[in-house]
Symmetry: C2
């Protein structure tokens, strides 16, 4: 057994059995080990951002880490943007990065660089293996670090000689740290606030507080006290639709978010950090909580939010059977394609138990509200603002959940960042319907330009926010990567194509000309 084999055996023993990979020469012993040891599924991405985004999507759905396997500093760097999203999603991910042989580092060969400096900004845990014998324990510790509740990115750098040199044995799995329970004071404070303020209170939910068990308890609290459930703007994963409790999503622009929260006299937070503005703007505060409201944290993102919300429901004496009455599902829309008709069309046709990855940016805004009455489904959002997450994240979600339909609701500008994910979807025959919002612009930047006072953009500003000239034909690009595609330009055609595409198995794509 060499170091590489000890790594793969350790990972499999720990239940980590998917590897999103784009290896190079310094990872060849690991590639060989993927065949020498049975039980690891290797998935090729034709760009590392596909691999890391897929690992994030996989982790959100499987609730355990996958490996990524990338090639030295530059290969890893291509995956940083989606690891940034994974970090903000608190997804468990284990990055394996090959490096030059220990004795070859000093030669400063062309691909040599400071990998740890690149890894630290996106990793909660970084280590470089010092020998082949150390790789197994390093791997077990990396997996445990990634699994530290609720999850984080762990990065292990392995020089190539530490992969090919002999090792003794794999390491025994290490149980990751469970989330700490909340203290009594936090519980008492939250219960008192919600009891006292009732409908003038918001329960602000994020992270683990948006999964099934936690939301069930949050629904009981809302039913008992009349408080409102507000969801963070960019949740990693929310269970919703069907009989899940209704959630209001905090708006993106700070002025609107401040207005939303200003209705409340008290905000109790669970699973999320206190809400802040996505960007700083002149004369707009960083924090979104009302200055004159009371705020209390029931559970931080690192604490046991589900346990906290269940304890809160009990402390409030909330009945156990408070499933909400399902909201209304929208009718099939007609007419022009726009954000409203697209959101309604998806909400009207999405099947029960599907997963929606929403990186639809401005076009996606009406969907969340429209789909409150859709059948039970899982909603995934762009957590870290690093665009190019949607197609890869949908890819990983489909690998984690092969029996669930995945809908990739995708802006065109963001989609262009990591379009190579379509090829992986085709190769792995993943059950994903991708909906491209082809509005031929970075619409959000046109809005931001206007907010910055540029009401009549000049030639450069127009050029830098437009995806026209030439217009991109997504259906051709998808076909070029093996994904069957159609184009639509009316709500009626979209609904027809959605029903067809969602009724098929395997990847397909609908390009929506807005």
């Amino acid at each position: 057994m060499n170091g590489a084999e000890s790594l793969i055996r350790t990972a499999i023993a720990a239940g980590v059995d998917v590897c999103f990979a784009n290896p190079g020469t310094t990872e060849m012993p690991l590639v060989a080990a993927l065949d020498a040891v049975p039980g690891m599924r290797a998935v090729l991405g034709l760009f590392e951002g596909v691999c890391t985004g897929a690992a994030d999507g996989y982790a959100r759905m499987a609730e355990r880490p996958a490996l990524t396997l990338t090639h030295l500093g530059p290969g890893f760097a291509n995956g940083i943007a989606n690891l940034h999203n994974a970090r903000r999603a608190r997804s468990p991910v284990v990055n394996i990065i090959g490096d030059q042989a220990t004795w070859h580092l000093a030669a400063d060969a062309p691909l040599t660089s400071d990998i740890a400096s690149l890894a630290r900004p996106v990793s909660g845990w970084v280590r470089k293996s010092a020998s082949a014998e150390a790789v197994a324990l390093d791997t077990a510790q990396a997996i445990a670090a990634a699994g530290r509740a609720p999850g984080q990115v762990a990065t292990l750098i392995i020089p190539s000689d530490c992969q090919w040199n002999p090792a003794t044995a794999p390491a025994t799995p290490i149980t990751p740290a469970a989330p700490p329970a909340i203290g009594d004071a936090a519980l008492r404070q939250a219960a008192e606030f919600l009891r006292r303020f009732g409908p003038r209170a918001a329960l602000f939910l994020g992270g683990q507080a948006l999964r099934t068990r936690a939301l069930g308890a949050a629904g009981r609290v809302a039913a008992k006290t009349g408080c409102r459930l507000v969801c963070e703007t960019f949740p990693a994963r929310v269970e919703r639709g069907g009989t899940m409790p209704a959630l209001e999503k905090l708006p993106y622009f700070p002025e609107q978010a401040i207005e939303t929260l200003a209705k409340f006299d008290v905000v109790v937070i669970a699973g999320a950090p206190a809400p802040v503005a996505f960007f700083g703007y002149p004369n707009v505060p960083s924090t979104l909580l009302p200055v004159d409201a009371l705020a209390a944290t029931l559970a931080t993102p690192l604490e046991d939010a589900a346990g906290a919300l269940e304890a809160l429901a009990e402390a409030l004496g909330a009945p156990r059977d408070t499933a909400s009455a399902p909201a209304a599902r929208p009718a099939r829309p007609t007419g022009a394609l726009n954000a409203a008709t697209i959101g309604a069309a998806i909400a009207a046709t999405m099947p029960a138990n599907c997963i929606v990855m929403d990186e639809a940016a401005t076009t996606g805004l009406p969907f969340f509200g429209a789909s409150a009455g859709a059948p039970a489904h899982t909603y995934l959002a762009l957590t870290g603002g690093a665009i190019g997450q949607g197609l890869p994240c949908a890819t990983g979600a489909a690998i984690a959940c092969p029996d669930r339909k995945v809908i990739g609701f995708q802006a065109d500008g963001s989609g262009m960042y990591t379009l190579q994910a379509l090829w992986t979807q085709a190769r792995e025959r993943l059950d994903i319907t991708t909906l491209i919002c082809n509005n031929r612009r970075y619409r959000i930047l046109q809005v931001e330009l206007a907010r910055a006072g540029v009401t009549e953009p000049g030639a450069n500003a127009r050029a830098l926010t437009s995806l026209a000239n030439p217009e991109i034909d997504w259906s051709r690009m998808a076909a070029g990567m093996g994904v069957a595609a159609v184009r639509v330009d009316t709500a009626e055609a979209l609904t027809v194509q959605l029903e067809r595409a969602l009724g098929e198995r395997g990847p397909n794509l609908i390009e929506m000309l807005i």
Copy 2:
């Protein structure tokens, strides 16, 4: 004037007038300033790796920096791989990165991260502006740092409030540091070695020693002493063909490189670091210089290689008129498409004064030899091993040299990393003919697997080195981004299509099915 305008005015005053950009909200004041101040050409890349690779290609050809403009840590991170190549090419590049407003950093909003940690591994100079008033001088110093001979990557991080707050004036351009002249001892040693060993000596050239003036002097030295001229394996830029002196390129695999250099009793180095293996392999040394040979450095990469080689030619009493007799140009090839026929077809048809960006990987190997007798041209290579450089670098070269035909000789696996560059080529109507080597595999990795002893790859190793299943249709993808494309599968068809494509103006693409 605000900080952003002071930046653009300072850059234009310093002769920096191209900006490869993919901005976001934190760069909106800079986008506005691109129109408020005349004279800066903004070029949109639909992925940051396109912007940074284009800045590298631009710098290699223009011999002055362009700006890149990217969006916080994750946006910048998408450009790191090609900045790694730029660092190894010693290209002058100035990165401008927006950051959260100074007072908003502590809120740890979703896009916040440690940008400097990401920037340092690829930058020779990193700074964050502390105020709007500081931006102008920071910019002038960044440009001067980038221009420090022969060139380096300089990165300036500018919080958004430092862009929108008032500033007083642009800064006066700062003359970058010129390369230091070599010392007498280095010159005497090199002259003595070459005089004494003649044909048993190699003059190993890299970096600035491969540009016109330096190569002219190197040719005189070779003519006088009989020494051989050996070019580094991955040169940033070489002037060749026509009457330029013949160069032998050092092979990629270390065993072959060692064998090549073992012929020599002395190696004199100019403009390059001493040659080392690209990767460490078991039982192969890091250094490629013969253990029993003499070695002398005439000029380091940071010294004045052209001046050094001219001084050397004078010291040796080399005649001034030693233009080499042109080598033979290959005949038009016939038959199957393979590395040899493709190399011959390009060499047989390429027009005088063209620029060839070679990221053709294994398929590209015969081209360098075949094109020794082609008309005068510039050859650019993948300097840092971070794949995905070719299409962006060709894009930047075409912007630097609008009157020269650019040939993008491109491997398929590497091309998939940054295929979005084709869209920029279409938008800017750049005169680039892209030749995709569609062999449907990471051929180099299949070779490396065999070198690592995996002679019968298993299912995972086969999957991770194959681009088949599904096969990628580059002509469709190119058409989807507005670049006209054809497919060929014989040498005859390639030659016909090359002559047509090279005779047109504007971007086009030939997909070669190998």
